[in-house]
Symmetry: C2
Amino acid sequence: MKEGPDIAQIGALIGDPARANMLAALTGGRALTATELAGVGGITVQTASTHLAKLEAGGLLAQRKQGRHRYFTLADEAVARLIESMMGFAAGRGHLRHQPGPKEPALRKARICYDHLAGDYGVRMLDSLIASGSIDAVGDGLSLTEKGENDLECIGIDVGDLRSSRRPLCRSCLDWSERRAHLAGSLGKALLSSFLDKGWARRTPESRSVLFTPEGDRQFLKLFPIDA
Amino acid sequence: MKEGPDIAQIGALIGDPARANMLAALTGGRALTATELAGVGGITVQTASTHLAKLEAGGLLAQRKQGRHRYFTLADEAVARLIESMMGFAAGRGHLRHQPGPKEPALRKARICYDHLAGDYGVRMLDSLIASGSIDAVGDGLSLTEKGENDLECIGIDVGDLRSSRRPLCRSCLDWSERRAHLAGSLGKALLSSFLDKGWARRTPESRSVLFTPEGDRQFLKLFPIDA
DNA sequence: TTCATACTTCGATCGTAACCGAAGCATCGC
DNA sequence: GCGATGCTTCGGTTACGATCGAAGTATGAA
């Protein structure tokens, strides 16, 4: 047999609880230090160090030295998509963590996925962009229409600038809590950044969740209406 | 931390080489016996038995007793999609198996993914269906148009029949070799079945690949043209 | 220079899970 | 009934990897 790519390797990398916790934490988009990651993994720094080395060797993580700190991030968006899709699958099988806890609703409403918006709000945003004709969905891919480009420029997003990067402009990413797609790619990132810049929302320090201010909430819902 | 679903569990399930090989083999869509799966995993039947029990407990496999045989299949299409997406990811990282081998091209051209067509031909089929207006792509989802329903009836697919099943009619499934979506869901299954019934193609006994006859090839390409 | 912090490497321990041989059920064919 | 086949369960071995204490390296601060 032995057909196709080797999935056992990455399965094993994700299969350790400490590593899985680290990866999940990094899906929050922030770069974290080895010590912080040891904390989320519930292990000592030594152990974390070996885990992180393995994850990096496996191509899941990237690191950046800064002074005496070493900041770890997910290697790229593909890793984030993989983690999210595995979370979606796990949620569907009932492989949930024990405590839903009070943070859960906030997480489902709006959270960071690598560098863009996920959760109910993330899905709503993409739906609205498609419904308004700003984004075309063809097959698996998404593409920005002329109308969309104009609309986005109006709210202060420089699409031309985004196009110049090598990263795809639009990407769909499967949302584990909603089980539907939200917008990833450089455009997804730019949109989230603009919400944060405008003060509509802020990131929480210790969690993936994104908190909208009452005013930000109002603006967001107005900007991305759902007609249904 | 401990946010979100538990991905370590399924990661660990996929993370064992023997289990990963079994799962990859089952993505071929055929139901396999424990003894056959032991073969693909390169282990004895006893060991395979415990592996299979774990996979079933984890919700990845389903089994069906038939006489003194026990046939295993992937639990559902979601598992197949997960495996395919992990393969796509692994391929992107260069985590390839050692031998590309002579079977590889056939596998990339057309293969089974659970119960529908994948590979170049699978992707081409979906692209063509969308281009011809038979399928609408909205966000992450796919939906059959009226035109599509008519066209399909013409080639002998009873769409009404398919609708009565609880399984979604159209689903997009990310293809690991093409890195684009192909058509899954009950419609994807029905289309593949019809090709096999018509004698356009046949499955190979020991591999996931689907071999098209010269005539079948001609018919397929005519039925699903690519204008580009 | 000296001390403190952040992290890695080394060495050793320990637990778990993969593995197989042998025995135990179940089902089929005769 | 009997033996053969397909699979599971049991018991015991083995190996790998997760873990941490302790020591080593790098960077920054005083």
